[in-house]
């Protein structure tokens, strides 16, 4: 058996191929990258926006800037050096989350309600807008419910495909980027090449498209042959529980 977080981490880790570069934050993204390194992608290059490059993580970092992110790292550098590698086109993947997401993968992590008189204030972009603008493929890990998956985000903090095909390039964003996969506790979504709208790629074991649609505030597409998400293997679970997150900081939540 496994829980939803373990499933999400395992699914995310499989997307990271050996030799790729990935910008990660704390929590599930970091766990996914560590798991990938310990399974199929030993040469995965992990970067932290605060300046840590390719550490040998001794334990799960608590902050993207804490000293674990430079433990036996290849380099301890600056935020600009890391972000500019991303802006230059070096970074394949970045992991993001958010309070709201729409059908084009646009994310809100700034406010719920009106910007000038917010009902709820969140941290803002942080490095999310930068990562999503610069990295080739944005991966989003989030819980799946109608409060998060909305027709229109209250505030567009971080760009997905904006208003649809060609909109990123028209706005001036680097060409060829955008959201790649959304990994939730229910399913894995990708984006339709023609419409740039979110579509179900695979359903987690036991889930149905209808159930996923019910938890989504906008109309979801689906690929021609929706697969069942391959569940975590015994090996993945062992490594995740014993080596990646032995204290259960992420998977124990």
């Amino acid at each position: 058996m496994y829980n939803a977080m373990e499933l999400m981490i395992c699914v995310a880790s499989r997307l990271l191929e050996d030799g790729a570069t990935v910008g990660v934050g704390t929590g599930a993204p970091c766990a996914a990258a560590m798991l990938a390194q310990k399974t199929h992608a030993p040469g995965l290059l992990v970067a932290f926006e605060a300046g840590g490059l390719a550490p040998m993580l001794p334990a799960m970092p608590i902050s993207v800037g804490d000293s674990r992110t430079t433990h036996r790292a290849l380099m301890a550098t600056s935020m600009c050096d890391i972000m500019e590698a991303c802006q230059r086109g070096v970074m394949d993947y970045a992991f993001l989350g958010g309070a709201q997401i729409d059908a084009y993968g646009n994310l809100n992590s700034t406010v719920i309600g009106d910007y000038k008189e917010p009902r709820v204030r969140f941290p803002g972009s942080g490095g999310a807008n930068d990562f999503a603008s610069f990295c080739w493929r944005t991966l989003i890990i989030t819980q799946h419910d109608r409060r998060r998956f909305v027709e229109e985000v209250d505030f567009l903090t971080t760009p997905g495909f904006l208003t649809g095909p060609g909109a990123r390039e028209a706005a001036g964003l680097p060409s060829g980027g955008g959201p790649y996969r959304v990994i939730t506790d229910l399913a894995v979504m990708s984006f339709d090449e023609d419409t740039c709208r979110m579509q179900v790629e695979s359903l987690h074991p036991g889930e149905t498209f209808e159930e996923v649609q019910r938890n989504t505030g906008f109309e979801l597409g689906q690929v021609a042959n929706v697969a069942e998400t391959v569940p975590p293997s015994e090996e993945e679970l062992c490594i995740l529980r014993d080596e990646v997150d032995p204290d259960g900081l992420i998977i124990g939540r």
């Binding site: 600009c80 942080g126 999310a128 603008s133």
Partner: protein, 330 residues
């Protein structure tokens, strides 16, 4: 594109004019004078009501906690503040003064009120939802680039983020067409803080500083700021600084005051020195949930404390600090 689409509608709190800054930097002389002073003296001399303030490090790592506490205790108000990768530093200033006044009322926000994986600060959230603080939105990289523009001595630099988003709309950035490629670019205005608080591993009496681990944006911040107060884990000789010129991150001519504060980043992490005190940080977050409990907490740990050494003492003193050292160097 209409003109309004090309200009964020957020407020610009500081003057990006490099000639205004140049006139200031001209008077800030390069002579190697002894700048060692106490934390209260440094804050009294170099942080003024109405100033625009920036803090170094990354939120809960290598932050100038002792200096930030002193700003609160000396009841500075009406500050502008750079919310660049802020976490616990933001949380400290969000407490307000003992008499309930706001410490900052103007805020450039890139990452605020969260403590990363630890959760959100209830007090910081109350403050930001009160509508009393004027806000301008940025991203972490864009705000770092504002420091870089200032450090570079130019009024702006171009970046390729923020485009197409509400983050741009609520910023004070502009959008221009690249004169070489015709592509749209965001340009962000130089940010010259009046004063920066930066904690470092080592400094000499003059302010030549060394930093271990990530430098975040402090290379640029130290150069961009009109005044810089440094707190240092250790004061070293200038001979020692000169023995390894590659290790210097901040040259003395950027620095106005040097304070000797061992454990100056506590409860934050200090690379190679001590890990963050997650117990104390959690206690702070928890206390914020209840306004009355929070007041008691602040009286005990902030307002009622006579100096940073006393704060370290009531947080567990040498025994706790030794634990954090062990945790870091395991």
């Amino acid at each position: 594109m209409t003109s309004s689409e090309n200009t964020g509608r957020g407020p610009l709190f500081t003057d990006p004019d490099p000639d205004v800054a140049r006139a200031f930097f001209r008077e800030k002389k390069g002579a190697l004078t002894d700048k060692l002073m106490s934390v209260p003296d440094a804050v009294a001399r170099f942080v003024h009501d109405g100033d625009y303030l920036a803090s170094g490090g990354f939120g809960g790592n290598r932050i100038a906690t002792a200096l930030l506490h002193e700003v609160v205790r000396q009841e500075r108000t009406d500050l502008g503040f750079a919310g660049h990768t802020t976490t616990h530093d933001f949380q400290i200033l969000a407490a307000g003064t003992r008499t309930g006044k706001l410490i900052f009322s103007r805020l450039d926000a890139a990452y605020i009120l969260g403590l990363e994986a630890r959760g959100l600060s209830a007090q910081a959230r109350r403050l930001m939802e009160s509508g009393e603080v004027e806000v301008c939105e940025w991203t972490n990289y864009a705000l770092a680039c504002r420091f870089r523009a200032a450090a570079t001595g130019v009024p702006f630099v171009p970046v390729r983020s923020m485009l197409g988003t509400d983050t741009f709309r609520e910023s004070a950035a502009k959008k221009i067409a690249c004169p070489f490629t015709g592509k749209s670019l965001t340009v962000v205005p130089a940010l010259y803080p009046d004063v920066a608080l930066i904690h470092v591993h080592e400094s000499d009496l003059f302010g030549n500083c060394r930093i271990r681990g990530i430098t975040v944006a402090d290379w640029d911040l130290s150069r961009a700021s009109k005044r810089v107060i440094v707190s240092a884990e250790r004061i070293v000789s200038t001979d020692e600084i000169r023995s390894d010129p590659n290790a210097t991150a901040i040259p003395a001519f950027c620095v106005d005051a040097v304070c000797h504060v061992p454990y100056g980043s506590y409860p934050g992490n200090m690379a190679g020195e001590y890990f963050s005190d997650e117990v104390h940080l959690k206690a702070w977050l928890d206390a914020e949930q209840d306004v009355a409990a929070y007041r008691v907490f602040l009286d005990k740990y902030l307002y009622g404390v006579d100096c940073f050494e006393s704060y370290l003492e009531i947080c567990g003193g040498e025994e706790r600090l030794a634990e954090l050292r062990r945790l870091e160097n395991n």
